[in-house]
């Protein structure tokens, strides 16, 4: 990858050989695993981060650390507070209390643009592509330290045209990676939903971040591209970046995550290596206890993954039990609303009168 900036080229060539292997091999924790366990080499440490919305506690994270140079997945049922936690960490929202540091420097109260400049760049769950800018302009916007962004120099194109050219090359490079290069001159508004997700991710990478935070990067991206994207994310790690991503697709989590943090009702309820975390009762509780508002399709998908990777029989039994408890689920696993409809129509079912009981 002929990168315009020399540092990146260096890190890529060396990265594949040395850093990549080293980080992969290095241990993440040196202590017994528990929620909030200290990491050997944390890049991001959050303490007592709490955010209420009225009476509703959206985030209440006592302590969590994100390991440097690893891919960490943040999972949890809908409404667990993952997006809110992202918003808090990146300065888009203010916590009621709490502190967090990035590379040893406190980030509490730092405005979002400064968070990004320190190398912590995020994407949004609801994509924010800039519709009336071309795809290429969207990409160029991601580059940092542009001289032409300052008012006076912006009027003198000769000052920044070389930099602009380098940025454009880099942008085209990334676009090609994300299979968007053919669309470079189109308005971003003309992209499909999945393509916008890709564009947003590619744009975030324009700034060569230290930590990339992706909020459901794969939602709406087709399976073939998902595969190649997984490769890209692994590449990011190889280039020395840390990745923190939110994802509901357990397959993706299983495939690329080095570490998994599980949130439920605002709290970190479990952490661990992907394989082990699946067997954690807290995780099963978090997901299965609240399965009525998770994507049931994912749940059954999870079974396949669990079998494939050989997770403890307990979990498989649990999941199977869940599926059997709802006969319609097995028949039509992907159609959540259909399931709910059936549930309501079930004659004399206790679940109709007392839904709570039926769920537990």
């Amino acid at each position: 990858m002929p990168d315009p900036t020399p540092e990146t080229t260096d890190s890529e060539t060396t990265g594949t050989v040395s850093t990549g292997t080293v980080t992969d091999a290095s241990p993440i924790v040196a202590e017994p695993i528990r929620p909030g366990v200290p990491k050997v080499d944390p890049i991001l440490i959050a303490d007592g981060v709490v955010r209420h919305f009225g009476g509703n506690v959206a985030v209440d994270v006592a302590h969590v650390e994100v390991p440097r140079g690893k891919i960490t997945a943040l999972i949890g049922p809908n409404g667990a507070g993952k997006t809110t936690f992202f918003n808090l960490l990146t300065g888009f929202d203010k916590p009621n209390s709490g502190a967090w540091t990035f590379q040893g420097h406190s980030l509490a109260g730092v405005p979002p643009h400064k968070v990004a400049r320190r190398g912590m760049v995020r994407t949004f769950q609801l994509t924010k592509s800039l519709g009336l800018l071309s795809v290429l302009e969207n990409m160029r916007l991601g580059a940092t330290k542009q001289l032409g962004e300052r008012f006076i120099p912006s009027l003198m194109p000769f000052l920044w045209s070389a930099q602009e050219k380098a940025i454009t090359e880099k942008a085209m490079e990334l676009l090609a990676r994300f299979k968007l290069d053919a669309k470079a001159d189109d308005y971003a508004a003309s992209l499909s939903g999945g393509q916008r997700k890709l564009l947003e991710m590619a744009r975030a990478l324009m700034s060569d971040p230290t930590l990339v935070m992706l909020d459901e990067p794969m939602a709406g991206v087709n399976p073939a591209l998902t595969q190649s994207l997984l490769g890209h994310i692994l590449n990011l790690k190889r280039e020395g970046m840390t990745v923190l991503f939110v994802e509901h697709d357990m397959h993706m989590v299983q495939t690329i995550a080095d570490w998994v943090i599980v949130m439920a009702e605002g709290k970190v309820v479990a952490e661990g290596y992907p394989r082990e975390v699946m067997g954690d009762p807290a995780v099963i509780d978090a997901y299965l206890g609240a399965h009525h508002d998770t994507d049931l399709g994912t749940l059954t998908g999870q079974l396949a993954v669990a079998e494939e990777v050989g997770v403890s029989g307990d979990l498989i039994e649990q999941i199977e039990g869940e599926i059997e408890a709802e006969p319609n689920l097995a028949a039509e696993p992907a159609n959540e609303s259909a399931v709910e409809l059936e549930e309501e129509e079930a004659p004399g079912g206790a679940s109709v009168d007392e839904p709570e009981e039926g769920e537990k």
Binding site: T90, F92, P111, P112, H113, K114, A116, R117, V121, R122, T123, F124, K128, S129, L130, G131, L132, L133, E137, N138, R140, L141, G142, T144, Q146, L147, G148, E149, R150, F151, S154, L155, P157, W160, E164, Y187, A189, E200, R203, A204, M206, S207
Partner: protein, 325 residues
């Protein structure tokens, strides 16, 4: 019979100082709204602040021309800060409310009896053009363009005005094709996305507010040079005229506001003329007093129709209209 003498005169609107002034101010509004998405409903306020700083320093304190212009620019910059600091972090509607309110307040304030010595009260200020006319190189005689006679001072304003319009258009054009312009356009689309990319959105919005305001101020100076400074020329209707002009020509183009201003003033003086002719001939039942408001009704209706049916302006392409109607 019917008196059509106004017809050739309307063509002179094409180059009139008023057209120049509105072209500049609308260009400023384009920087605000068209490019940066700032809902400024108080461009008249920026114009009047600049005009007063210019006229007061020129007539009351005897500043030389350059210093008066500088004072006007400083004045409108300060005004931009005053309005921008509380509102640019908030939803777009707040800026619209605060700007429309502030523009009206400027208009009331300058007419306060206690300030009359400084602002001339509701009579406004005369004579601020002395410094400008002193450097007029055009020989003193009457020039004729079309059927309209011009003095050398009239021509001087028109020439300087159009040079200024050209320069301002080039300036905005260059600004908007630079990375700076990319950022403000990004802010217009989604400011959180731009923030997430490490750009200080607040600072860019403030810069855009200042730049657009300064263009409004330059327009106001051109406006008062050939006539005088009248506070009531900068009421809400002026701002709404500017919006109509901007939307007429296309809010995201550089030439749009300039062509829009020309069309606007030609059409407006045509319609004024027609209505006057028709009502003198008793074809339209409007008294002398009732003719004045008609143009405002036309503008109001035009504004509504434009924004709904042709948000991209007369020349723009539909998909470039940034609020899809």
């Amino acid at each position: 019979m019917l008196d059509w003498t106004f017809l050739p005169l309307t063509l002179n609107q094409i180059i009139s100082p008023q057209t120049i002034a509105y072209a500049l101010a609308a260009l400023g509004l384009t920087v605000h709204f068209g490019y940066s998405g700032l809902l400024n409903f108080g461009q008249a306020g920026f114009m009047s602040v600049g005009a007063y700083f210019f006229a007061i320093t020129a007539t009351r304190f005897g500043f030389p021309l350059w210093a008066s212009v500088l004072a006007a620019l400083v004045g409108s910059t300060a005004f931009a800060f005053l309005l921008g600091i509380p509102t640019l972090r908030l939803r777009a509607d707040y800026l619209s409310i605060v700007t429309i309110a502030a523009a009206e307040i400027i208009r009331y304030t300058v007419q306060t009896p206690n300030l009359t010595a400084l602002t001339g009260g509701s009579d406004g200020i005369n004579g601020s053009e002395a410094g400008f006319e002193a450097i007029n190189p055009i020989p003193d005689r009457v020039y004729k363009i079309g059927v309209q006679p011009y003095t050398n001072d009239d021509l001087w304003v028109i020439i300087v005005g159009w040079v200024l319009v050209g320069a301002a258009a080039l300036f905005v054009w260059q600004l908007m094709r630079s990375p700076w312009g990319r950022i403000v356009k990004g802010i217009r689309e989604d400011e959180d996305a731009v923030r997430a990319l490490g750009k200080n959105v607040y600072s860019f919005k403030m810069q855009a507010l200042i730049i657009g305001g300064v263009l409004g101020t330059l327009g106001a100076i051109i406006n008062i040079l050939p006539t005088s400074l009248q506070p009531d020329n900068y009421g809400t209707q002026t701002t709404f005229f500017l919006w109509t002009i901007m939307l007429l020509g296309g809010a995201t183009t550089v030439l749009g506001p300039i062509i829009g201003a020309i069309i606007f003033w030609v059409v407006l003086s045509l319609s004024d003329g027609f209505i006057a002719v028709l009502s003198t001939a008793n074809i339209v039942p409007l008294s002398q007093v009732q003719q004045g408001p008609v143009r405002f009704i036309i503008v109001g209706v035009a504004l509504m129709l434009l924004v709904v049916f042709r948000p991209q302006g007369i020349f723009g392409k539909k998909k470039e209209a940034y609020f899809s109607a």
